[in-house]
Assembly symmetry: C2
Homo-oligomer: 484 residues x 2
């Protein structure tokens, strides 16, 4: 399925005046309080661009900020090694990508354990096969059995090798970002990567109002290479932002815009995606929550702001705090994603497998979520409007008291008219019991095992494959015996 | 919580022209194909009102239809025996009610069995306690241990006795509808019931395009007594309607409007709620599905039509095909309800406990759903817009790199700013494991058991209680030894 072309209206909560007022508050934050860039090179770049800099504190005038933001592209094309899977996002176009960064998996037997590179490869294969998944993903799970200094090499290679969709890059250091760009150049060629976008990477803001040097190092590498960055305030609303929906959004808006603007300071026109990871915090435990009403309200505000700035924006989709693939996981993931969809996000991260506030990646939930995403895709596309006359004829033929099963109109239209999810069970209790009384979690695990058995690798040019392996070998020699 | 005052915009899919075109198709259905009223008295009433009648087929000119529909009130106040719990629905005001009619329960031990009057009483007690539940409900489950001819008496009594919220009436025969009105008169007084609405009852259309005599008998009783009716096409899209979202809506619109108009023929100004129970059908099994994207599209169309006609409208909320309180139940219920919410339904049935396409009522899911409905309520209310200045002050005080936990602004605002659901678990894996590793289903069952232990009956005037019991005794003597 190509990127989703939106047919649904946006759910906008603010009037034009109210939106300007919210924007104004974010401008006050950046002009008066300012934001910290904890990196000497970044500070030098901001000084040169005309911002008001005191030590690491950068105060950015709204005119300067808006001039810089205006240089960021409205839409971004991310090239895949299979050109048929190249995607464009922005405007009314949206893409879905997997969850990111969990150190644990809930495995094919439903057991929770540390994730490994074997799991990572498996999730790359599942992402490759998922129909409404537009990129293979990034840190599909943390391969805890591979030493950190070498980990990004194995992740990048697996993303490239086992899928032909576009992939996300490493951000945990300058060198790892550079390695990602180098590996992309092996796949796409140097010149192509200089002028085109082939990866998207995440830069998290340490809310409130701090961009740290690790993230800025990665941003500088990627922006200079024309690679896309998700400027992502990490919003624990009530902990890293004020305890107010609109106050939290005023702050994250300032943070994300400062990031987008910084990318333009590095390279005017650098592809930058505005947006956030967003949770409310439980006052009881301090833990992040998903699927709460205020998250949806905040996403709707962010969407409206992003459209005002003509920036593509991201959020996270099928999120949950649940430790299991249970009813909580279903409620929270569906609610959270529904809010993101109607708010109009262009890049939706975490659309599959997410459990425990991103600490665990589940094989079962990956499959269940992937199917739910096909339905969110169809929901977001909006209505098929063109078949009223045919329907009226069908009603005429059926007459009062008749039925429509088996009629010519039904046989012709059914499949496209109504989606039937495979992993949701619609059988009677008796049929379902006879077939083994499997719950959704079990069906998800069975589906994952089946998909992995049936997986067939997409072709990869042998010379490219060898060059990637050669690059990794050379790097690993340089890195030496790294500690886990 | 009073009826929800909507702050969210409506999700409207059609332009004004497209909406008129859809309306026109429904008018063509009623003018050219017509609709059957399988009841002599109804046919006589339609003839007298000027409709074109051939045997049981009634063809209704659009002017006549719209004149009748215009007599139905835009909003309806349903009185509860506790005046503080009287509710008004219509316009931007919405109420939530429980699931309806399941012959089975998934009990407090998670076992599926036939439901009993003891279960019915339990669900009345739970509905009484649920904060975002605006009526006690109707057939909370079918008490299979009470003979059908007497069943409605025991259901009505339990709804009145164990809760002081408004209740729904029996519709399975003329006599049972009359008994409901009689029992309401015992509670509210004859005169009050003649002029005010104290019950809401469901009349299902046998789609396509048939209103049968059982339903029409109940409609005549209730409309004549100024009691509200939900005119509910039972939409199995693809089976009882054409295999087309917009075609299905054209048909159900004709069916529902014909019902609303008929109530006005019986008594001009009779409170009538437009709307439907809506599922798409699995082509694999013929079974109804919930939480599919086309259901949401159809609900959005229905909402737009209802607003065009200035009628309050109903739909069903937390629906699922699942046999268990598992991830499927969570996904489907949340998606289905989210669609209903943004489509703007005024009366949402089946907001708690619904499993298996309404064949089973679950104690666990009742509790989980009830909490989800509090969140849907808050979502639907929309944004709290008034606290930007305070938030900016909080950001100023926190400064970059700070945090907001424990600040004065947070302590003051947290509880109202961010809802924390009790039955969703946000603990760490370790805390959750230590506390027993309970899944959502187990937590729901535990919560139901606790709520039933803690239940305290609302006061009921002793004379009214005795009169109700006396009425039932007299009726039961007349009915005699009924067969189950």
């Amino acid at each position: 399925m190509p990127p989703m072309d939106r047919g649904l209206p946006y759910m906008d909560l603010l009037s034009a005046d109210e939106l300007e007022r919210l924007h104004d508050y974010s401008m006050q934050i950046l002009e008066e309080i300012g934001i910290e860039f904890r990196d000497d090179e970044a500070i030098a770049l901001w000084k040169a661009s005309g911002a008001d800099v005191t030590e690491q504190r950068v105060r950015i005038d709204r005119h300067l900020l808006m001039d810089l933001v205006a240089k960021a592209p409205e839409s971004i094309t991310v090239h895949a090694r299979n050109p048929a899977k190249t995607v464009t996002l922005g405007g009314r176009r949206t893409i879905f990508t997997p969850a990111y960064g969990s150190p644990n998996v809930l495995d094919l037997e439903g057991k929770r354990r540390n994730s490994t590179i074997a799991d990572f490869v498996n999730f790359a294969k599942l992402a490759y096969q998922a129909p409404a998944m537009h990129m293979t993903g990034g840190v599909l799970c943390e391969p805890m059995d591979v030493a950190v200094p070498k980990r990004h090499l194995h992740m990048n290679y697996s993303l490239i090798k086992y899928s032909d969709k576009a992939f996300m890059g490493a951000v945990t250091s300058k060198e790892r970002a550079e390695d990602t760009v180098s590996m992309a150049k092996i796949v796409f060629g140097d010149e192509f990567v200089h002028d085109n976008t082939v990866t998207v990477s995440i830069a998290n803001c340490n809310s409130p109002l701090v961009w740290d040097s690790t993230m800025l190092d990665a941003v500088k590498v990627y922006a200079a290479s024309n690679q896309a960055i998700l400027f992502t305030p990490f919003v624990l609303a009530g902990a890293s932002t004020p305890a107010s929906t609109i106050g939290a959004v005023a702050q994250l808006n300032a943070e994300a815009l400062a990031g987008v603007a910084f990318a333009q300071v590095v390279r005017p026109g650098a592809p930058a995606i505005y947006g956030q990871w967003l949770a409310t915090v439980s006052m009881k435990t301090g833990a992040p929550m998903a699927g709460t009403p205020e998250i949806d309200h905040m996403n709707m505000l962010v969407g409206q702001l992003a459209r005002r700035y003509k920036l593509p924006w991201r959020c996270s989709g099928m999120c949950t705090s649940s430790k299991l693939v249970d009813a909580q996981a279903g409620y929270e993931a569906a609610r959270n994603m529904y809010g993101v969809l109607i708010a109009g996000a262009n890049f939706v991260l975490s659309t599959t497998g997410y459990l425990e506030g991103a600490l665990t990646q589940s094989y079962s939930k990956f499959m269940l979520d992937a199917e739910q995403m096909v339905m969110f895709y169809k929901l977001g596309q909006g209505l098929v409007k063109s078949e009223l006359d045919e329907s009226l004829d069908a009603i005429r033929q059926s007459e009062p008291g008749g039925h429509y099963l088996g009629t010519a109109h039904t046989l012709k239209n059914f499949e496209q008219a109504f989606f039937v999810p495979d992993l949701m069970d619609h059988d009677s209790f008796e049929q379902w019991s006879f077939a083994g009384a499997r719950d959704a979690d079990t069906r998800g695990r069975d589906a994952a095992a089946k998909a992995l058995r049936e997986y067939q690798a997409p072709p990869l040019d042998e010379a490219i494959d060898e060059a990637l392996l050669e690059f990794m070998k050379r790097k690993e020699l340089l890195i030496g015996d790294a500690v886990l």
